[in-house]
Amino acid sequence: MKNVSNKKGKPSIRLNAKLILLIAIGLILLLSPLYLRINKPLMGSEPYFYQRIIKNIETNSSMPTHDSLSFAGRDFTYNLGPIFLLYMLSKGVSITLLLQVIPILLGILTLILAYFSLRRLRSDPSISFISVMLLILSPSFLYAFTKFTNLTIALPLTLTAFYLFLSEKKFPRIVSSVLFVILPFFGFWETIIPLSILGIYSIKNKEAQKRFIKISLITLAVMVVIHLPHIIETGSLGYIPKTTENVSNILFDIGGEFGASIFAVILAFFGLSRLWKKKYQNFKPYMILIALIIFSLLSKNGAIYLNFILCFLASRGLLRLSSMRWESKETRNVTLFLLLCGLIFSGLSFVGSIGSKYPTNQMVDSLKELESVSESQDIILSHQSNSAWINEIAKRKTIINERTAHIRDVEKIFSDISIIFHSRNIKQTEALLKKHKIKYVYITPNMKEGLVWDSQDEGFLFVSKYSKLLERKYEENEIEIWRIKQ
C-alpha cells in the first residue's frame, strides 16, 4: 500500500515564509527614501534626467533627435530602453510617481529572481536565503533600487534573462534570448557584463555554449547597430573616467558611493577558500569573480554586478563559519554576531545617508534662482553630477554632463573644464570661459569639499576673487552662482 506523505505542504510553506521575510525586509529598506526624504526633492540625478526626457517626448509627441541642454546641445544618443519603458508607463501615471515606485517594485522582483535563480543553480536553500538577505543589506543593491537609475531596469532584466536561460523548456529559453538581445538598449556595460558572465557559465556545457554563441552574436550585432553610427559620426566613445575613480566604489565602508560591505568581502574570502578545495570543479565562480572585479575597475556600475557574486560567496563563508567546529563556542557566537552587525551596519549606514543626499531643498531653491537670473540660451558650468538638476530644475544648458557617450571632442571639453576649475591663471580661465560661451558657474558645497576642490583658495575659487569678469549673483547655504560678464 502506498503512503502519501502528509508532509507535502511543509517545504513550500517554509519557502513562502522565507521569501515573504526577504520581501518584507527588502520593502522596508527600499521604502526608506519615502520616509527619510519627506518634503525633500527626489534623490539622485538620474530621475531628473529621465523626467526631463519623458516630458520632452510628451511635449513633442515623438522621440527627439537632439538634446539642446546637455553639453549645450548634442545628439540624442541616450539608452533608449529605460526611456521607452518609462514613456509607455507614463501614459497612465505621473512620471514622478513612476520614478519613485518602479525602483521599489523592480527591487523586489530582483530579490525574487535572485533567490529562484540560485535555487535553479542547485544552491542549498540556506545559501539562497542568506545570499539574498546579504544582497538586501548591501549598499550596492540599495543604491540601485532606492532611486531610479539605468540599472533599475537592466538588473532585473538581466536576472530574468539568466533565470529563463537556465530553464529546460523551449519557450522560456526563447524569451531569455530576446531579453539578452534587448540589453544593448540599456547600456554598453549593461550588455557586456551579463554576456561575459553567460559566456563563463557556458564553459564545458556544449548545449549552453551553442545558445550563448547565438545570443552573443545577435546581441553584439544589435550593439554595433546602435552605437556604430554615432561612433563614426562623432569619432568618440565617450569620456572614460580614471580607473582609480571606480576603485573607491568597490567598498562602501571606505568612502565609496555604493559598493560592498567590507564584512561581506571578509566573508566572501571564507566562502572562496571553501570553494578552493574543489577549485577545478568550482572554477566558474572564480572566473566570474575575476571578470567582475575587472569590470568594476572599468565601469562605475561594475561594482553593482560584482556585489551579486560577493553576496553569494559571503553566504557560503557565513555558513562555513557557523557550521565548522569551533574550539570555543563563545568565540564562535560573538564572531558571528560581529559579522552580522558589520553587515547590517553597512546597509544601515547607506540608508542613514539617504536623507542628506543631493539634491537638497536649498539646491532646488538656488536652481530656481538660477533660472530666474539667467536666460534660456545661457550655458552653465558646474560639476557633471549637477548637470541633470541644472537641466531639469533650472531648465538651462550645461557645458558638461554625466552622460558622455558619443560626444565629439569630449576629452578636450573635460580637459578645458578641468583647467577652468583648477587653474589659478586668471587670463587662462577667462579665455576658456569665453571659448565655451559659459555664462554662469554653479558651485555646490560638495564641490568645495573634495569633489572638485580641497581648499578655499584653489583654482576657480581663487580666480573668482580677483577676476573682473566674474560677478557673484548668489550665495546662500554655501551654494554660489557666478555670472561671467560679457
Binding site: 565602508d253 568612502g255 564584512f263 568565540t331 560573538v334 560581529l338 552587525c341
Partner: protein, 484 residues
C-alpha cells in the same frame, strides 16, 4: 634563589616607577602638547557627561572624532590632578612586569627575563612619550603587550576571556588598535610559509579580535571614512607637507631613542627565533614588528610612534638572544666568567638605556617657556582670541588659554587641512609682511606663538616681518601680538 629573583623584579619595577614619579611630580603641570588635548576632553566629559563630538576651539571649530574611553577612565583620577600622574606612571611601569612574564614564556628562564625587564624599564622613546605626559600610550602599550601574552597562552580558557576583553577595550582607546589586525594577518601568513600549524583556538581568537577591532573602528570613524575614504588613515597630507608637519628624526637620534642594545639583540633574536628555532611566539612578536614597519613605510604611522611601538617588542625578542648567549657561554671556557658578562651587560644597559632614559626624562618633562607664556596669556585675553602655532603645539593653545587655534595635530576631519597647514607654513617662513598679514587676517589671528620648537622645525631664528612695531608687538618671549 627564586625569591631573590622576584625581589629583583620588584626592585626594577619600583625603580622605574620612582623615576617616573620623580620627574612627573617635580613639575606642577603636564608637559607635551597632547596632554592638554586630553585634559580638555576630560574637562568636557566632566561638565557634560558625554563624549566630545564638536570642538569649538580646534581649527576655529570642527567635528571632533576621537575614541574617549581613556578619558572616561581618567575622569575619577582627574579630581585630584596628582592622582592622574601617579596612575599613569604605575600603568606605564607595568611594562616591566609584562615584559618579564612574556620573556619567561619564551625562554623559560628567570635570569634572562629579569635582564629583559630591566631593558624595558628604561626605553628612552617610551620615557619621552609618557613621563609627565597625559598620554594614552601609558595604557595602550601595556595592553598591547598583555594581549600578545594572552594569545600565547590562549589554550587556557581564562586567557581567552582576557584576550577578548582587551580586544574590545583597545579600539575604544586609540585607533592604533588597527595594528593588531595587521599583526595577526602577518602572523598567519608567516606561520603558513614556515609550515607552523597554529591551533584552531588561536586562529579563532585572532579572527574574532580582528573583526571586533575592525567593526569598532569603522563605527567610530565612519564619518571620516565616508568623507575622506582610506586617506583618513594616511592623514591626507601631501608629501611636501608631511615633511613640514612631522617631527624630524635623524638616524642617530632615532637609534638613541629606540635603544641600541634592544635593536641589535632584537634583530639577532628575530633571526634565531624565525629561522633557527621556528619559535611560534617569536614569529608572533615579529609579525607585529613587521606590521609596524609596514605602517611606517606607508606613512600611516609617524616615525616617533613607530619607534615607541617597536622598542618593547624588540626588547622582548632580545630575551631569546640573551638566552642563547647565556647557553653558549655555559658550554665554553668562559663559563666561569659568566658573572662578569652579566655585569658588563648590566653596565651596558646602564650606559645605553638608563642614562639616555634619565636624560630624556629630564628634557621632556621640563616646563617649557611657551607654557608659562600661554598661562600668562590665558589671564589677559578673552575666549574669542585666535592664536597660531605649529601643528605640534596647537593643543597647548586650546588647553592652556581656552582660545582657538589655527591648526593642531588632530588631523582627522580637520577642515581645509592642507590649506591651513600650507598657510601656517607661510606665516612662519615668509619674509613678506603683507603676505603674513593677509594670512593672519584670513584666520583672524591675534597672537603668534613662536617657540624653540617652531624655530627648530623651520630652521629659522626670527619672524622677519615682526620687526614692524606698528603691526606686531612681542608680548612675551614666545608670543607676538598682531596689532594690524
Amino acid at each position: 634563589m627564586k625569591k631573590k629573583l622576584n625581589y629583583i623584579l620588584i626592585i626594577i619595577f619600583v625603580l622605574t616607577l620612582l623615576m617616573r614619579l620623580f620627574f612627573a611630580l617635580s613639575h606642577p603641570e603636564f608637559s607635551g602638547d597632547e596632554s592638554y588635548l586630553h585634559l580638555r576632553i576630560i574637562s568636557h566629559i566632566k561638565q557634560s557627561g558625554f563624549p566630545m563630538t564638536y570642538d569649538p576651539l580646534s581649527y576655529g571649530g570642527r567635528t571632533f572624532l576621537y575614541p574617549q574611553l581613556f578619558h572616561y577612565l581618567m575622569l575619577p583620577f582627574s579630581l585630584i590632578p596628582i592622582l592622574l600622574k601617579i596612575i599613569l606612571a604605575i600603568s606605564a611601569s607595568t611594562i616591566v612586569l609584562i615584559t618579564y612574564v612574556i620573556s619567561k614564556e619564551i625562554t623559560g628562564k628567570k635570569g634572562v627575563s629579569l635582564i629583559t625587564a630591566l631593558l624595558s624599564a628604561f626605553i628612552p622613546i617610551e620615557i619621552q612619550t609618557n613621563v609627565n605626559k597625559l598620554s594614552v600610550y601609558s595604557i595602550i602599550l601595556p595592553l598591547i603587550l598583555l594581549m600578545f601574552y594572552f594569545l600565547m597562552k590562549i589554550e587556557k580558557k581564562r586567557y581567552l576571556l582576557y584576550f577578548m576583553i582587551i580586544s574590545f577595550i583597545l579600539p575604544l582607546l586609540h585607533p592604533i588598535s588597527f595594528l593588531i589586525v595587521f599583526s595577526f594577518l602577518f602572523y598567519m601568513i608567516i606561520s603558513a610559509t614556515e609550515s607552523i600549524e597554529l591551533t584552531k583556538l588561536k586562529k579563532e581568537a585572532m579572527i574574532f579580535s580582528a573583526l571586533l577591532i575592525t567593526l569598532l573602528n569603522f563605527l567610530m570613524f565612519k564619518k571620516g571614512l565616508i568623507r575622506d575614504g582610506f586617506s583618513i588613515v594616511k592623514s591626507n597630507i601631501s608629501s611636501t607637507l608631511i615633511e613640514a608637519s612631522q617631527i624630524e628624526f635623524n638616524i642617530i637620534q632615532y637609534l638613541y631613542l629606540l635603544g641600541i642594545i634592544p635593536l641589535i639583540l632584537g634583530i639577532i633574536g628575530i633571526y634565531i627565533g624565525i629561522f633557527k628555532k621556528k619559535n611560534e611566539n617569536i614569529i608572533l612578536l615579529s609579525s607585529s614588528l613587521l606590521s609596524i614597519i609596514t605602517l611606517m613605510i606607508l606613512n600611516v604611522l609617524e616615525i616617533g610612534a613607530g619607534a615607541l611601538l617597536l622598542s618593547p617588542f624588540l626588547i622582548i625578542i632580545s630575551s631569546l638572544t640573551l638566552d642563547r648567549l647565556s647557553e653558549y657561554i655555559k658550554i665554553t671556557k668562559f663559563h666561569k666568567l659568566r658573572k662578569y658578562f652579566i655585569t658588563i651587560l648590566v653596565l651596558m644597559v646602564l650606559l645605553f638605556s638608563v642614562i639616555p632614559s634619565v636624560i630624556t626624562a629630564v628634557t621632556s618633562s621640563r616646563q617649557s617657556q611657551e607654557i608659562e607664556d600661554l598661562e600668562w596669556l590665558s589671564q589677559n585675553v578673552n575666549e574669542n582670541t585666535t592664536i597660531v602655532s605649529i601643528p605640534e603645539q596647537g593643543n597647548l593653545i586650546t588647553g592652556i588659554t581656552n582660545c582657538k587655534n589655527v591648526v593642531d595635530s588632530n588631523y582627522i576631519l580637520a577642515p581645509d587641512l592642507e590649506e591651513r597647514l600650507n598657510d601656517v607654513f607661510y606665516i612662519y617662513n615668509t619674509w613678506s609682511e603683507s603676505k603674513a598679514l593677509q594670512l593672519l587676517e584670513k584666520y583672524d589671528v591675534d597672537y603668534i606663538l613662536f617657540t624653540k620648537k617652531a624655530k627648530q622645525k623651520y630652521g629659522i631664528n626670527k619672524l622677519t616681518y615682526t620687526e614692524n612695531e606698528k603691526c606686531f608687538k612681542q608680548e612675551r618671549e614666545t608670543l607676538y601680538k598682531v596689532k594690524c
